[in-house]
Every structure is written in C-alpha cells, then in structure tokens.
Amino acid sequence: MTVLRGKRRVWTDLWQAVLALFLAGIFLLPVYWMVTTALKTTIDTFAVPPVLIFQPTFEHFLAVYTEGPVLKSLLNSLVIAATSTALAVIIGAPAAYVLARFNFRGKADLWFWIISNRFISPIVVALPFFLIARDLRLLDRHPALILVYLTFGVPLVVWLCVDQFRAIPREVDEAARVDGANLGQVFLRINLPLAMPGIAVAAILAFITSWNELMFALVLTSTEARTAPVEAANFMTGFGIRWGPMMATGTLIVLPVLLFALLVSRSLVRGLTMGAVK
C-alpha cells in the first residue's frame, strides 16, 4: 500500500515538473527569441527551419551603439522615468502618510479620486496634454513627460505606501510627539525610514510604468526628448525592417525592466491591481 502510494507520488511530481517546464517555456519563449535574434547573424534570422544553435554575434548591438539614436533614447527614458519616479515619491509619500494616520471629512472621496486615475485612458488626456504642452513650449522636452507620468506615478505611490504607513504602530508617532517633534519631523525622521521597503517597491513599479509608456511619449516628443519605446516603434516605419538591430534595441529596453520586475515580483500584482488583491 505505502509502496503504491509512493509510486503515485513520484508520478504526480513528474507530471507536475513536465507541465511546469512547458508553462515556463511558453512564457519565456518570446523573450528568448528576441534575445537570440539580436545575437544571430541576419542570415540565421531568416533561416527556415529556425537555427537553434548558432555562433552568437554582437554586430547588432555594436550597430545600435555606434549609430547613436537608440542610446540617446535610452538615456532620455532613464532621465524621464527616474525624475518622474523621484517626484512621485516626494509628492506621494507624505500624502500616503496623512491618509494612513488622519481621519477627515471627504477622505473616502479623496481616496477614490486618487485611485480612479488608474482607470482614465491615456488617450483621453493625451489630446489636452498635447495642446497644453504646445502652448507652454514643452513639446519634445523632458519636463512634459516627467509631469505627465505623475498621473500614474503619484496614485501608485500613494496606494502602496498607505498600507506601509498603516503597518507602523501609532505609538511610535506619539512617543516622538511627546519628545517635542512636530508632524514634519515625525514623518521625515521616523516614519519615512520605517516605510522604506514599501516606498522602494512603489518607486520600482512607478519606474517600470514610466519606462514602458508609449502613447504620451509618442505624442509629446519628436527628436530631442524621444524615449526608448518610441525609438523602438520607429523601427517599424520605413522600408526594410532591420530585425537584428530592432531586437537588440528591444533587448536593451526590456532587460533592466525584467531585473526590476524580479526584484519586486511579490508586490507586482498588488501594484497592478492597486491593492484590490493583496
């Protein structure tokens, strides 16, 4: 009897392992294909049946590097996403603290309003943003996108940080107040350091979202402040698609995001659902 049950367990483990491998294969294959295509010679890319084992070449990465615009766009993306994220944290974290600690009239409405920014389609505000940025002479300049990306950065930070601040016991605040600290000091010196893990997660998610954004970037930038996704989308225009450089660009855009995503894998879902799911 026990032998039979043991055998059954081995079989269960085995088919679970096989199915797991299959799932992993499906979800990783497209990314794997992109990276390998970036490393293949153009002849290998067009080969049918596809070449699975090949001598990797860095010619496409080298081409992307020497040509320049992709590198510049990556730098633009970095500057814009990092600045916007920093601003979102500076603006969002204190608000989250107040929402976590104080009760006031209209709090629920304020709450709902902040979160509802998640549901507004970018196309709704892309049109006015374009006209406003044009009038302010901000088109194709970094500040335009940095400000616009706060529309999702601030709500994201507020939502994720409120939970974090709630987890800090109120007694800590009260003890500091007794010692004569004012609210600003209590927030900055005591709560902020304690909430750092949650703030870091929120910051990473805000960064990923800004880094990945296309529509606003397409509308608000053209040459100077053009971000990496716009540059990547540009490979699809004109004659003759250059698959190698295109996939090399894709790889350069995606790799940092994947590293970040792995760092916050546990909190990613909570961030994406705005906390609807813990």
Binding site: F130, P229, I253
Partner: protein, 295 residues
C-alpha cells in the same frame, strides 16, 4: 476632544502637493478635453478657427460608423481574450497551488511576473518577429503540423487572432497571479471539510474554492476592461490597426483621429465618450460581483 472642523495645517501641508498635482495633471486636462470636445479644433485647418460648435462633434461621433466599429471590435477583442485568460489563469493557479515541491511553485510564480513586465512596445516588435509570414516561428510550428503558412499580419481575421494571442500571452500570467493569491486565502480547514462535503476535482473547486476567487475575478474584469479600452502600444506596433482597419481597437482609432488626422475636437468627443463607458462598466461590474459574494 478636538473639533473635527478645525483644519490640521501641518497634515494638510503634507497632503496638499499630491492634491494640487493631481488637480493640475488629472482634472484640468479632463476639463480641457471636455472644452475642446465642444469646439471646432482641426489642427490641419487652422483657418477654420476654434470656435464653439455645440454638440456638433458629438453628433459627428454618433454618425461615424468607424468609431462604433472600433468599439465593437474592442468588444470582440475582449471576448476573444478575457474568457481564455480567466480559464487559463485559474487553471495555472490551481496547478501551481497544487505543486507540492515548494521551490518549483516559487520559481513558476516568479516566472509569471516576466511577461507582464515586458514593455508592450517591445512585445509588439516580438510579435512581428514570431508571426512573420516567411520566417516566423509560428508558421514554422504550424508547418510541423502540416498546416500551410498563414499570413498572420496580412489578413483581417488572422491579424485579429494575432493581437489576441499576444495579449493572452502577456496577461494570462497576471490573471494567474491574482487567482493564486485568492487560493492562498482558502484555509486548510475549509479545504478539508470541503473535501468531505463536495469531494474532489470540479465539485471541490466550484463549491469551495471558487467563492474565494470572486473578488479577484472582479478586479481582473474591471482592470482588463479598463486596460483593453486603453490598449494602444502593442497593437500600434504590431499591426497599426491594419490590415485596413481590421485590428483598429478604439484607442488606436481615437489616436489616429487625434494625431494622424488632427481633428482634436472630434477625437476629444470620442475620448470623453470612452471615459464615460469605462466608468459605467466598472461601476456595473462592482455592483454585479459584490452582490454575488454577499449572497
């Protein structure tokens, strides 16, 4: 006891920046869009001026078959993708939840995060590669099954299937992760007594585990509805709405009217209608599902 009506200035000063910023970049552009939607606003015909035209733009939208077709197409896309994402997502969640070897289930949960994070623009580019008619992997795999190559991006129905498949690839892991956290709430005691009452397999799932998944399912439906109404980048790169207008989802269409035809008045009217639709749908969902959970 403190008076509730007294303003706590220090606290207010901490929250004020967030409110001001969201008013400036959240509410003001919306009002701006409402304003434009009542104006003549064609960037390529500036000589027409930007005067008020009343409901003219909205009437144009209501009489524009392309707008309604793009909405219908978005609905079709929703029906093609979301039910499958939910079925696959729940199946994968049940599978991962049932894995006894901890490292393996942990590894799978981490892997599931990756597709969600991949830049949608790049997802579109990868789609171009995999679904290429001549040397794409999809047609090669079909060839192994003796199926003739499909012109995935060159014909209307295959093109729609392509963007649906890509969306299913990217967002099934998200549904699975939400469902995994739902299943994690079911306590071992509940599961054990459920086994005694409902037995194994389907009965156990439907009567014992499913109720715990409903809140997550509501969240998934709301978010997927909002995200599909927003969906732009992946489709824009993969098909540009083509061939013809066969994959022109509503956001892609509004973007075309706004930034390739440059009729901002009409595009704003479309965008406002889209926003209203999104609000109505998500409210409807919340009411529908939370009642079911309470009952």
């Amino acid at each position: 006891m403190r008076h509730k009506s007294r303003v706590n200035w220090p606290a207010f000063s901490l929250i004020a920046p967030a409110i001001i910023v969201l008013l400036a970049i959240g509410i003001y552009p919306l009002l701006f869009a409402v304003n434009i939607s009542f104006r003549q606003y064609q960037l390529t015909k500036q000589y027409l001026g930007t005067g008020y035209v009343g409901l003219q733009n909205y009437i144009t939208v209501f009489n524009d078959p392309l707008f309604w077709e793009s909405l219908l197409r978005t609905g079709q896309f929703f029906l093609l993708t979301v039910p499958l994402q939910i079925v696959f997502g729940i199946s994968i969640a049940l599978f991962i939840d049932g894995i006894r070897w901890r490292p393996l289930s942990f590894l799978l949960r981490v892997l599931l995060v990756l597709p969600i994070a991949v830049t949608p623009t790049v997802v579109g580019l990868i789609g171009r590669l995999l679904f290429n008619r001549d040397f794409g992997l999809m047609n090669y795999l079909l060839g192994l099954l003796q199926i003739a190559p499909v012109s995935w991006l060159g014909e209307p129905v295959p093109a729609m299937l392509t963007i649906a498949l890509v969306d299913i690839w990217q967002w099934t892991p998200f549904v699975a992760l939400v469902m995994i956290s739902g299943l994690a709430i079911v306590s071992p005691d509940v599961l054990e007594s459920g086994r005694l009452e409902a037995g194994q397999g389907w009965n156990l799932f439907w009567h014992v585990q499913m109720p715990y998944l409903l809140p997550g399912l509501t969240a998934v439906l709301i978010l997927r509805t909002a995200d599909i109404l927003k969906l732009f980048d992946m489709v824009f790169v993969l098909t540009r709405g083509g061939p013809g207008v066969s994959t022109e989802l509503v956001s892609v269409y509004v973007q075309r009217v706004g930034f390739r035809v440059f009729d901002l008045g009409v595009a704003s009217a479309q965008a406002i209608l889209l926003l209203l639709l999104c609000i109505v749908l998500s409210r409807g969902y919340i009411r529908l599902f939370y009642r079911e959970v309470e009952a």
